[in-house]
Amino acid sequence: MQSIGEAFHLALSLVLSGEADLYEIVGLSLQVSLSATLLACALGLPIGALIAVSRFRGRGLVLIVMNALMGLPPVVVGLLVYLYLSRSGPLGFLGLLYTPGAMIFAQTILIVPIVAALSRQVLEDLHAEYAEQFRSLCLTRWQSIGALLWDGRYALLTVGLAGFGRAVAEVGAVIIVGGNIDHLTRVMTTAIALETSKGDLPLALALGIILLVLALGVNAGVQSLRMTAARQAHV
């Protein structure tokens, strides 16, 4: 086994060499997790907004469940999605198992509760400020929700980011429904797990470094967007 320093050195040269296999894996990771994030936002933001503006019996219970679902273990989600997508499962006819589609499916389910719960919090604070004005203007519920989503858009970027961070970093769900098939469903996290178990630390480390840099880059991008917005007093 190499020393850590040696492994780092090899990893860096791998990253810089622009090796096709490596970047294929990175590309698929981004493709899967970004798709899942977009889908989760399309589902989770309206749910969060609807709960933020609604008062109904059992609302407290819904909030507790939603918060609990934020901590869904990826392997459990993977297992459930596997059961649904397997040949004998209710969605088996889709033939999605062991494809990127299955991985997107699983990650979407994993992060919808995150997007819904966090956006509910953000939008509820905004709604507290707007509610009386909205009632005076006699807006419909969907007009209110639309206005909240639009006015909260910069804060909601952070919510989407939290979802993306969780998706791109998880390994349990994608490895079960994707199967970590080379050139087909291998993403950064499953590759890291595999290479580490095989003892190929430089490749695992190289992927780990890219994962970190990506996370930092995406965060920095969103943060600067928010700061621009804050300067323009749109937040």
Binding site: R135, S136, L137, C138, A147, Q232, A233, H234, V235
Partner: protein, 255 residues
């Protein structure tokens, strides 16, 4: 029911005729209006009638319940007791035909123009009116600026433009000039007076006695959650009947 509108209903109702066909909102009758919080009576049996047309100024010391009363008349707060009847229509069903300019304006996190666009669109009004409304309140040159960066007085003026955008039959104004410079105060008073002359019923809360004299056709003096006095302006200012109003106008502390 005997108090149905007598207006003949045309065979085909076009949207434009809607307002014409509706039964007018006034007169307003308020009886026994109460609101309590934690054992304290905030509104304590408010009795009130308002005739159509003109401007009613509501005055009274801090905490008298003026803002609460406006919100109840506008159907935003449910009273703990009593009744608000806009010519037979309960307050909650009259909200859409009224506008309230809040004591602290709440503006959307968008440009000045977009704030008006939003309301015009949501309420199905002509979007082309936006610039005319902005010009009326003197904010046309700020149209593209984020509303959150407006000064306190400019924000009040935008809130007023937004209220006018909904063509209200009744307009409530809760101290709309509290933080304005003297020239802006007169601008707002002129806009409100113009709306009144077009037939909008004005209900205006202010602490500014000079303003009240300029604006009021009649005055309601609210004290400790009750109507202490309800008089015509030409009676109220020279000779207030209630001791509380007398003290208030004389600049003495009213508790």
């Amino acid at each position: 029911m005997s108090d149905l509108p007598i207006t003949a209903v045309p065979p085909v109702a076009r949207p434009r005729d809607e307002a014409v066909m509706k039964r007018p909102l006034l007169p307003l009758r308020v009886s026994g209006l109460r609101l309590a919080s934690g054992g304290a009576a905030l509104l304590d049996g408010v009795e009130l009638s308002l005739a159509p047309g003109g401007c009613t100024v509501i005055m009274g010391p801090n905490g008298a319940g003026k803002s609460l009363l406006l919100k109840m008349l506008h159907g935003l707060l449910v009273p703990g007791g009593g009744e608000v009847s806009w010519n037979g229509t309960p307050a909650a069903q009259a909200t859409a035909r009224q506008a309230l300019v809040f004591q602290k304006p709440v503006l959307l996190r968008r440009s000045v123009a977009a704030n008006l666009d939003f309301v015009l669109k949501a309420r199905g009004r002509d979007r082309a009116r936006r610039d005319a409304l902005l010009r009326e309140v003197g904010l046309l040159h700020k149209a593209r600026q984020p509303a959150r960066l407006l000064s306190g007085g400019e924000a009040q003026r935008l809130a007023l433009a937004r209220a006018l955008a909904t063509d209200p039959e009744v307009m409530f104004l809760d101290e709309p000039t509290a933080s304005l410079d003297p020239a802006s105060v007169l601008v707002i008073e002129r806009i409100v007076a113009a709306a009144r002359d077009r037939g909008t019923r004005i209900i205006f809360v202010t602490h500014d006695v000079g303003q009240a004299r300029r604006m009021a056709d009649e005055v309601i003096f609210l004290h400790r959650g009750r109507v202490a006095e309800h008089s015509r302006a030409d009676v109220f200012f020279p000779e207030p009947r209630s001791p509380a109003a007398r003290d208030y106008l004389a600049g003495r502390i009213v508790l």
